[in-house]
């Protein structure tokens, strides 16, 4: 049986438009550039100072040495700020055609019409579209671009929370983010408000040799409930692109937040993204994470279970094809009593792709009666591919209940024959096995993403 499994067909995402009339800051990173970004964006003084301080931290911190190589990334050649030739619009009709076409092709306006309560669309460094359904706005839900939030009604709340969960001192790329961040969303769900349908932000990096540094800040107040979806994609260029976004999620007492994301970057992308959630008493955090594209990824959503009885579930899938090195996983930090966490991770590697599952479970002394369980499974589609599992556990209580299960496997020829003996072609049989392997994750995804994921897998299995 030949290897009929090919890389994920990215042609759907590989269209791009010129950015001739866009404002593009020159490549590299200097104090002057950071100041100009601050000026362009009309930062309040504290934010400008924050950027400069972050730049200092960036300059003195080291590139991490423990993960996949990122030598291909040269900050002198990354443009940190590319502003499209439009301001932010509240109607798709006003968005310039090339940009609108991009989002049309990605199905964003359609998804908004059919199944979303609100949508934000970012093109390169700035949001170009933002809209929230009236009913949701009337519930007091705030969903805007972060720039507006910085100077609007909720500016104090933004200042109080911005980069407090992920401080610039965290690592070099968090510092970079602090210095040059642009775009992203601010969401506030007031106490007791349940948002019935999801909100979605979509980030599209169109410009070549550029970086995207959007910042997502979500606060779900006591007893409130929100599902937030993020999607990302970019066309392929030969030059390296960089994504160093930052996501900070605050889940207050007895609140619930589900945060679903599909990162489908092109294969020249260095995806060095930092995501963190703070979970208060009795609250619940759910991460759904799909990592498909990018050249190299470092992605470990972290949850701090601070309040007693907090709960977090992480469900993730990573698909590493040719030339990809995806280092993904999750981190759980148990602080409160009787906190619980569950990690369910799947990875698929093929055509020489490398996927590494890296996780860390920390049970602090205060976390009496904490529970944590990790389930990770890898599927290698050929003998050239690689799959590693690096789970770390640091347990400082005597009564913690911690479990870990890891499985690494291949598609068995017998299973393929079994399905074929029922009239299913070899390619289809392999696709069914891979989709089945991915199903614990895909069934948690919003329908259109689940369908997209299964289609991608199927297409690739059929392409020979």
């Amino acid at each position: 049986m030949g290897d009929t499994v090919r890389d994920v067909d990215r042609s759907l995402y590989d269209f791009r438009y010129d950015e001739d009339d866009f404002y593009r800051i020159e490549s590299g990173l200097t104090k002057d550039i950071v100041l100009r970004i601050a000026k362009e964006k009309n930062d309040p003084a504290w934010m400008r100072d924050f950027r400069l301080k972050s730049l200092e931290i960036y300059n003195r911190s080291q590139v991490p040495q423990w993960g996949p190589p990122i030598d291909g990334l040269d900050m002198d050649h990354i443009a940190t700020y590319v502003r499209p030739n439009t301001g932010m619009k509240g109607s798709w009709d006003e968005v310039p055609d090339d940009i609108k076409n991009t989002f049309e092709k990605l199905g964003i306006p359609q998804a908004e019409r059919e199944s979303l309560a609100g949508v934000g669309a970012q093109y390169d460094s700035e949001l170009v579209y933002h809209n929230l359904q009236k009913e949701v706005a009337e519930q007091g839900v705030i969903y805007t671009d972060l720039e507006s939030a910085l100077v609007g009604e909720y500016k104090d709340m933004v200042k109080e929370h911005f980069m407090k969960l992920v401080p610039p001192t965290d690592h070099k790329f968090a510092a970079l983010h602090g210095a040059v961040w642009s775009g992203g969303s601010f969401v506030y769900v007031p106490k007791g408000v349940k948002v019935e349908i999801p909100l979605q932000s979509y980030f599209r990096l169109n410009a070549k040799g550029a970086g995207q540094f959007e910042h997502t800040l979500i606060i779900v107040d006591e007893g409130a409930d929100l599902h937030f979806i993020e999607g990302c994609s970019a066309p392929k260029y030969n030059e390296a692109n960089l994504h160093a976004g930052c996501v900070e999620l605050y889940v207050r007492k007895n609140a619930r937040l589900r945060y679903s994301t599909i990162e489908n970057w092109s294969k020249n992308m260095y995806n060095l993204n930092t995501k963190r959630a703070l979970v208060e008493e009795g609250a619940r955090m759910e991460w759904i994470s799909g990592s498909f594209g990018s050249h190299t990824s470092y992605l470990y959503p972290t949850t701090i279970l601070k309040g007693d009885g907090g709960h977090c579930e992480f469900t993730g899938i990573t698909f590493a094809g040719e030339g990809q090195n995806l280092d993904t996983g999750a981190k759980m930090i148990h602080v409160g009593k009787k906190t619980s966490s569950y990690i369910n991770s799947k990875s698929i590697s093929k055509s020489g792709g490398v996927s590494t599952y890296r996780s860390s479970i920390q049970i602090m002394k205060t976390a009496k009666g904490a529970k944590s369980s990790v389930d990770c499974a890898s599927l290698m589609l050929d003998s050239r591919s690689r799959s590693d599992t690096i789970p770390a556990m640091d347990v400082r209580t005597s009564d913690a209940d911690v479990g870990h299960e890891a499985k690494i496997g291949r598609i068995s020829d017998e299973a393929v024959f079994y399905l074929m003996s029922r009239g299913i072609s070899e390619a289809e049989a392999r696709a069914m096995i891979v989709s089945g392997f991915a199903s614990p994750v895909s069934k948690e995804l919003p329908l259109e993403y689940a369908a997209e994921m299964n289609n991608l897998i199927k297409l690739e299995m059929e392409n020979t």
Binding site: E414, M420, G423
Partner: protein, 259 residues
């Protein structure tokens, strides 16, 4: 007169990509539409090899000979092509496919086989009826294919697929092994249902006879060390039941010595 559905001519086969791995030696047999054949033999005779070679398992390699099915030379066909022509194999050890529900799988398989869009309503009704014959709980349709099924449940799931796929010829590989008395009865019930509804032909591979008690058998073949030693009618089953395979094993040894 019934037409020949399966015609195996001097089939020699063995494990693929291995030396001195020949298992079957010039096996010939013919199955006509609607006939029930039984293939018996001691452990290691090559019964499963024959079943899998007929279905096109790439783990086995045809060294010489020819397999004709429904008038087509299928010797080099892949398993899915054979299935589309109407061949079915019930596995001795059905594989588990996590994340693929039995119902989704069946729908896909039927769609692929027929090349037609599926009529969901009649499919559902048929599935329900078939599951009832096999005394399977309706919840099995939503469960992942064979995952966590007991030995008996797996065999029932195989017969369920048989009833839904409606092949012209079903090869049952040790379907009764590992089943308790009640499960054997239920599975036989399912097989009779297939005979009745489809007038389907059967090649039942077994080394016991329990599953045959309730079935009418047209022909019996005895395979020893890859050689087809004898073909007889249904009464041969009874004879094997009483005397075992001893006689045929001795014969096979003699045959070998005289060569």
């Amino acid at each position: 007169m019934a037409k020949t559905i399966l015609d195996v001519k001097k089939l020699s086969a063995g494990i693929a990509d291995a030396e001195d791995a020949q298992i079957l030696h010039e096996v010939s047999l013919k199955v006509k539409d609607g006939e029930t054949h039984v293939l018996m033999g001691p452990n290691g005779a090559g019964k499963s090899t024959l079943a899998h070679t007929l279905m096109g398992n790439p783990a086995y390699e045809v060294l010489s000979g020819k397999i004709t099915f429904a008038g087509e030379d299928i010797t080099d066909y892949s398993a899915d092509k054979r299935a589309k022509l109407g061949m079915f194999l019930s596995f001795q050890n059905p594989l588990e496919v996590p994340g693929l529900s039995m119902e989704t799988f069946l729908r896909n398989a039927i769609r692929e086989k027929t090349g037609q869009p599926l009529k969901i309503f009649s499919f559902k009704k048929e599935l329900e009826a078939a599951m009832e014959v096999l005394q399977m709980d309706a919840s099995y349709a939503a469960r992942d294919l064979n995952v966590g099924f007991s030995g008996g449940e797996k065999k029932k799931a195989e017969i369920l697929q048989l009833l839904m796929m409606k092949p012209k010829l079903a090869i049952l590989d040790e379907t009764d092994s590992g089943l308790d008395v009640d499960a054997v009865r239920t599975v036989s019930e399912g097989i009779r249902e297939y005979q009745k509804n489809q007038q389907g032909a059967l090649l039942i591979v077994t080394h016991s006879t329990r599953i045959l008690d309730a079935l009418h058998v047209d022909y019996t073949h005895i395979l020893v060390k890859g050689h087809l030693m004898k073909t007889g009618d249904g009464s041969l089953v009874e004879e094997v039941n009483r005397h075992g395979f001893e006689k045929y094993i001795e014969e096979e040894v003699k045959k070998w010595e005289t060569r």
